[in-house]
Symmetry: C2
Subunit: 376 residues, 2 copies
């Protein structure tokens, strides 16, 4: 392989005890792969909402200001007391960022498994991808078919596996249709394609007419606009038609999760023949898997007593689902990488541009339809 | 047996389409038991919060006014639009009320099972107990040991089985300790005694110093007052000490359910050795089983992504738990009727007094420590 530089540029996020967040770069010695490890030159790594949670966390980004450290850009911001409480566990630890990415294996440890990956384009999971290089165990690197564009391989895990986890959860927990919010997102579009292919009825909730058009364009059938005046009636009608009793909510804050449960209950009560003061006996489940709105979740409990609202996270889901299911999910991602699971990026930026203050404020706004890809 | 009257006085609750609630009495023909049924003279029947949900439902009781019908008291109240929506399924149906009670079997159907109950004092489940007589299948009547005071047998099901269902749920779902709200209630006091007997750590949340004293008086060890300034710290300390990851909330509205999840998360994070932006991987469950506060549930989601908030209702729990568990629970209630499961009533009233307007307003206030028993 080509000669490697002696150092590796890594992005770090640090919460200081005095209530300040610092995000900056550090030059670290180039890692040397152990026998079971590979050293990967990172070629593409996306900025997912889950990365932003670690990158800027509970800091008040309205106070963000630019400076420099070792001639490289650095961002500083104040952290309000609530943010400090939420991040108490990470004070003083400079943490590397970046859940997933793709890259080229430029050096490999002595084991045959590691050597087999040398020169291959791989998809990467395991954090710390916002760097020039990443050294990690072979099982965290998934070889991609020859000729795969690193851009297509950059987002192989978080969105594809999460959207597949939704349909697997539906089957495991005995539901027949799904309601999804922030449905025009990259993940939402993947879910539309999975559900179309698998014949699963899907109710897509979006927030604007523009997003309705995006989903119509990829063939979604049930699309409900939460900013429409007749949103509740539209939602009930779509749930009556699909029979959905399972929802996944990326927003978290506000009334939406409760409105979904309430609409499911209205649909369930329509199917009942006798009145019960406790509501329907149809079990209704909504999972909150994101936090686009960090405000409180507000539940007007007009949906009986047979319901559950829960947090959803990919890692414990995979642990519960088991090796066989996860293996099947990963294989499907590779097989359908340029179709079902193709991600669209509105902006490509360099590693150092990611800490340009204006660029950072832009991607931190988490606008649907905008997605940033770092190409170190 | 003694001669029976020709008619049976029954209390009914009716939602009228024009937005009015009427609660009144009706004289109905005395029912004739079918072969598998018994006719029971109701001797005692409690007013539980779950009965009030059906009795007055979504009506605005500030507008309640007294009148008469057939020389018997009647209550009328206005129903706001939200109440009408919630009660849409019962408009125009006059519903009988009263979940449980106790009484004397005065007539029995021809089957040996029914005949065996003749002359016995029985505990009753199955609704429509706010009446002079109740005719129902033998399996809804549980014979009480000879000499049982009907007052002691009046509340054999709702509170005893619900409190036992909490500890059964704890075992079934793999938790080791419980948090309970409105813990000075009749149900809460039963739970204190069950947990003491079974060695289950229990965190009792109450709302006043007077309630703290009630629970101290029956030997509760962890008592937290939600009106205290250091409530959050007290709650965290009690949860750290007990390791509780399961909560049952009778209040429903407001921030309490979320505060319990947050305190469980603080306790779980204390046990972690590495930081995770997603919070702890300790599963935290709170069930809402009551609605002392009908306002919205407000969750400040500071408890990671490994949590669930769900509705809890006795009937589906028993269906899920199965015959063996339910049989064991019922036997324990009979065995410990005058100890663990003894209910305390602050007021005994007659059937017609139950619709006296001042009396109704008093029991509808659902004050902890006050419990009404109807003795028809």
């Amino acid at each position: 392989m080509t000669d490697l530089p002696e150092t590796n540029l890594v992005m770090l996020t640090l919460v200081k005890p005095e209530g300040q967040l610092e995000v900056y770069f550090e030059r670290r010695p180039m890692p040397e792969p152990k026998p079971h490890e590979v050293l990967v030159k990172v070629l593409a790594t996306p900025i997912n909402p889950s990365d932003l949670g670690l990158l800027f966390g509970g800091a008040d980004m309205a106070t963000a200001r630019a400076s420099q450290r070792d001639d490289l850009p650095m961002i500083t911001a104040d952290i309000p007391p609530a943010g400090m409480r939420a991040m108490g566990g990470r004070i003083g630890d400079a943490l590397a960022i970046g859940n997933e990415g793709s890259g080229l294996v430029v050096k490999a440890g002595a084991s045959p498994e590691a050597q087999a990956l040398l020169g291959k384009t791989v998809a990467l999971l395991g954090g710390e991808m916002y760097a020039e290089y990443r050294c990690l165990p072979v099982q965290m690197a998934m070889p991609l078919p020859d000729g795969t564009d690193p851009v297509d391989g950059a987002s192989c895990f978080v969105n594809p596996l999460t959207s597949l986890a939704f349909t697997e959860t539906m089957r495991m927990e005995g539901h027949n249709a799904i309601v999804h919010t922030a449905a025009a997102s990259n993940l939402g579009q993947m879910l539309v394609k999975i559900c179309a292919k698998d014949g699963i009825p899907l109710v897509n909730i979006v927030r604007s007419d523009a997003q309705v058009e995006i989903l119509k364009g990829i063939g979604a059938t049930h699309i409900v606009n939460s900013s429409a005046e007749d949103f509740h009636d539209q939602l009930v009608a779509a749930i009556v038609e699909t029979g959905a009793t399972l929802g996944f909510d990326a927003i978290g804050g506000g009334k939406l999760a409760g409105q979904i449960l309430a609409a499911m209950e209205v649909a369930a009560v329509k199917r009942m023949t006798t009145y019960s003061r406790y509501g329907s006996d149809t079990f209704k489940q909504v999972y909150i898997y994101g936090a686009l709105d960090l405000g409180p979740t507000i539940l007007n409990r007009s949906f009986g007593l047979t319901w559950s609202l829960s947090g959803f996270l990919l890692t414990p889901f995979m642990a519960k689902a088991g090796m066989e299911v996860v293996g099947r999910m990963r294989q499907r991602v590779v097989d359908e990488l340029t179709t079902t699971f193709k991600s669209h990026y509105s902006h490509e930026i360099s590693l150092t541009e990611a800490l340009d203050i204006d660029t950072a404020q832009a991607y931190n706004a988490k606008k649907t339809g905008e997605k940033y890809l770092i190409r170190p």
